[in-house]
């Protein structure tokens, strides 16, 4: 058990470093398509962390929805519109905006990081509880039945509106 936890911790930090690196590249690289591909690394890393936490259903959903649908949608959006796909030097903000964003980012990181560290420092996770996918579906169709149904209306409305706004008339 101990060995497994050590391995898990090592894997966590390796994946976390990859996620942070990928996230930095998303905002710094000058090529829109490359940025979208770096985003794949970030999202896949998050899926990897879910697997380490034994949340298999969430991990699979993350891969299907974020990697399979959202990033592909980004790439289609970039390629089907007249956005530049190559190296683009204008893909950048003016320096004051960059400095401002950097300061706010570091401040937020500090506040949120401190709050998280303060709340859960010294707490051990104990045995990892594996949540079976069947349990997820059980709660989806009992406790969360109403939000589930509401989302179906939401998707219908989003579909109708997207067609109206996107079509040429």
């Amino acid at each position: 058990m101990f060995g497994l936890l050590v391995a898990q911790n090592i894997a966590f930090y390796v994946i976390a470093a990859l996620i942070v690196f990928g996230a930095l590249r998303v905002v710094t690289c000058k090529n829109l398509v490359h940025a979208a591909l770096w985003l794949v690394l970030v999202l896949a890393g998050v899926a990897g962390q879910y697997i380490l936490l034994a949340a298999e259903f969430v991990a699979v959903t993350q891969v299907l929805v974020y990697l399979g649908a959202i990033v592909v949608l980004f790439l289609f959006g970039i390629m089907l519109t007249r956005a530049k796909t190559g190296h683009d030097l204008e893909l950048d903000n003016p320096t004051p905006a960059k400095v401002g964003a950097g300061v706010i980012g570091v401040l937020l990181l500090g506040v949120m990081g401190y709050a998280l560290w303060d709340a859960w420092r010294g707490q051990e996770l104990g045995d990892i509880v594996v949540q079976r996918t069947a349990e997820v579906s059980d709660s989806l169709f009992s406790t969360y039945l109403l939000p589930f149904e509401v989302i179906s209306v939401l998707l219908l409305a989003a579909l109708i509106g997207a067609i109206v706004l996107a079509r040429r008339d």
């Binding site: 998280l116 069947a134 039945l145 109403l146 509401v150 939401l154 509106g161 109206v164």
Partner: protein, 503 residues
């Protein structure tokens, strides 16, 4: 094999169809409008608006039967509650949705917009608001927020050949999803700490701490800020004026009234049921937000030359008044009770008077094709009825009897005074000063309408379509009746109580 399957057996949730009937009627209406739209030709396009309006009125029937029944119905382990509070607000959303349909009928039909789809999105948004009124669970609240917001983002961009409308939609959308992201992070932190998404289970776990943990403070602040965007509280108001000006005017009325009310409903649910014990966190936040919102909203409203933008900033200021009682809600159960009632009463009256003001603006714009304040010059000489109605709504917004606004404002003052501490009294003074500032711009529009000359000398009377007349009659009647006999309203709002569930 069967035994294996049986071991996965789950308890079917008990679904009270009577309690869900209003939502089911609205959802069914949406589907009917969709089907009618798909299978009829151009000449039957008017049907969409009629069916949508009728559907919203029919949904009031189960609301009335549930209110008559009077029992509090709790479903999904406390995640969905249908009580007097939820029913009053559902009736508000249905009625304001109906008035918006009335306002839209001619505007959408004559403007060559997509018609059936417009009403489908409107119905979806109203459905989201109704769910919000009953949601007592972080996930339901989030899903309801998305259902009411996403159709609204798209409706704001409905005049899609107009760049201003596109700007309105995109601005609203970007700010909205940003707020949603902040709010979701807050919710995830609260769930992580308490291990529950049910507000009634969150309350004891964060309330029993002597002082607030940083993580809880962070979570509560993030969640409340997310709804601060929705109710366009300063400094999260930047989207509101551009969106209000660019969006089709009936959509602006919808956003300024129903969507804002839904944001307040979510704030009430969260604060009263979930974060009740942490008044050391939300009270200062609400105090600052309320004071900033009303002051800055009023000061910028003073400088506006466009009536719709002026109403947008006046709406921001009004949001500040409505936020004010939340700043003292936690000081005692009596103050909490007063604050809840004053907010609900204010929301109901605000809906009537603001929708009415928008109805007049739309009726006048049909002739002048503009919403600049100057074009209202001499309105009394050729449209006395509209002028009197507008004056009634402006009196109400300013809080002058006999229009209903005075009763709403008195409620806010009573709530602020009921706390009996300095912060309440200071905030009451801020509200009073702001009410005086607000007189200036409401009064200016009034003076232009009654005293000024007609700008281009064109005094042909305005032909007001039947549906806008109906909307005007409804809103003016409500504004006047409540102003003269407030008991009509308090009869419905007195029994409401949110605290019973939180403790």
């Amino acid at each position: 094999m069967l035994a294996h399957l049986a071991s996965f057996a789950w308890d079917a949730p008990s679904v009270d169809l009577h309690a869900l009937a209003p939502e089911i009627v609205v959802a069914a209406t949406l589907v009917v409008v969709l089907v009618i739209d798909a299978f009829t030709g151009e000449e039957q396009r008017w049907a969409a608006s009629s069916v949508a309006g009728i559907g919203l009125l029919v949904a009031l029937v189960p609301v009335a039967t549930l209110a008559y029944d009077g029992a509090t119905r709790v479903m999904f382990g406390g995640g969905y509650v249908v009580d007097d509070y939820a029913l009053v607000l559902k009736a508000l959303f249905l009625l304001s949705g109906y008035v918006v349909v009335l306002l839209s009928t001619n505007y959408i039909a004559e403007g060559d917009y997509w018609e059936g789809e417009y009403y489908q999105l409107l119905l979806a948004s109203v459905l989201g608001m109704m769910v919000m009124a009953s949601a007592r669970d972080l996930i339901s609240i989030f899903v309801a927020l998305e259902l009411l917001s996403i159709p609204a983002y798209m409706l704001a961009a409905w005049r899609k050949r107009d760049l201003k409308s596109d700007e309105a939609g995109v601005k609203y959308y970007l700010m909205g999803v940003f707020a949603s992201a902040v709010m979701l992070y807050g919710m995830s932190v609260i769930y992580g700490y308490t291990g529950s998404t049910l507000l009634a289970e969150i309350a004891p776990r964060i309330g029993e701490l002597v002082t607030s943990e940083p993580i809880i403070t962070l979570g509560i602040v993030f969640v409340l800020i997310g709804f601060g965007f929705k109710v366009s509280a300063v400094p999260f108001h930047t989207w509101a004026p551009d969106t209000y000006e660019g969006a089709p005017t009936p959509v602006t009325a919808f956003l300024a009234v129903a969507s804002k009310a839904a944001g307040f409903v979510a704030l009430l649910n969260l604060i009263y049921v979930g974060f009740w014990g942490r008044h050391d966190v939300y009270e200062p936040l609400m105090w600052v937000l309320a004071a900033l919102t009303m002051t800055i909203g009023n000061l910028i409203a003073l400088r506006q030359t466009n009536v719709v933008r002026m109403l947008a900033y006046s709406g921001i200021a009004q949001a500040g008044y409505i936020l004010a009682p939340l700043a003292i809600a936690g000081s005692s159960p009596e103050a909490a009770d007063q604050a809840l009632h004053s907010i609900v009463v204010y929301l109901l009256i605000y809906a009537a008077m603001n929708l009415g003001a928008f109805a007049v603006v739309m009726a006048v714009a049909r002739k002048t094709r503009s919403a600049e304040i100057d074009t209202f010059g001499g309105l009394f000489s050729y449209a006395p009825g509209l002028t009197v109605a507008m004056s009634l709504f402006l009196f109400s917004l300013a809080g002058v009897p006999p229009a209903a606004g005075w009763f709403a404002k008195i409620g806010i003052f009573q709530a602020l005074a009921s706390a009996g501490d300095t912060s309440g009294y200071v905030l009451a003074v801020v509200v009073a000063v702001n009410s005086v500032i607000a007189f200036a711009y409401y009064g200016r529009l009034m003076r232009v309408m009654w005293m000024d000359d007609v700008p281009d000398g064109d005094t042909t009377p305005i032909r007001v379509p039947t549906s806008i007349t109906a909307a005007l009659v409804i809103t003016a009647a409500v504004t006047l009746v409540i102003g003269v006999v407030p008991g009509v309203l308090t009869h419905f709002t007195d029994p409401i109580n949110l605290l019973a569930l939180g403790r």
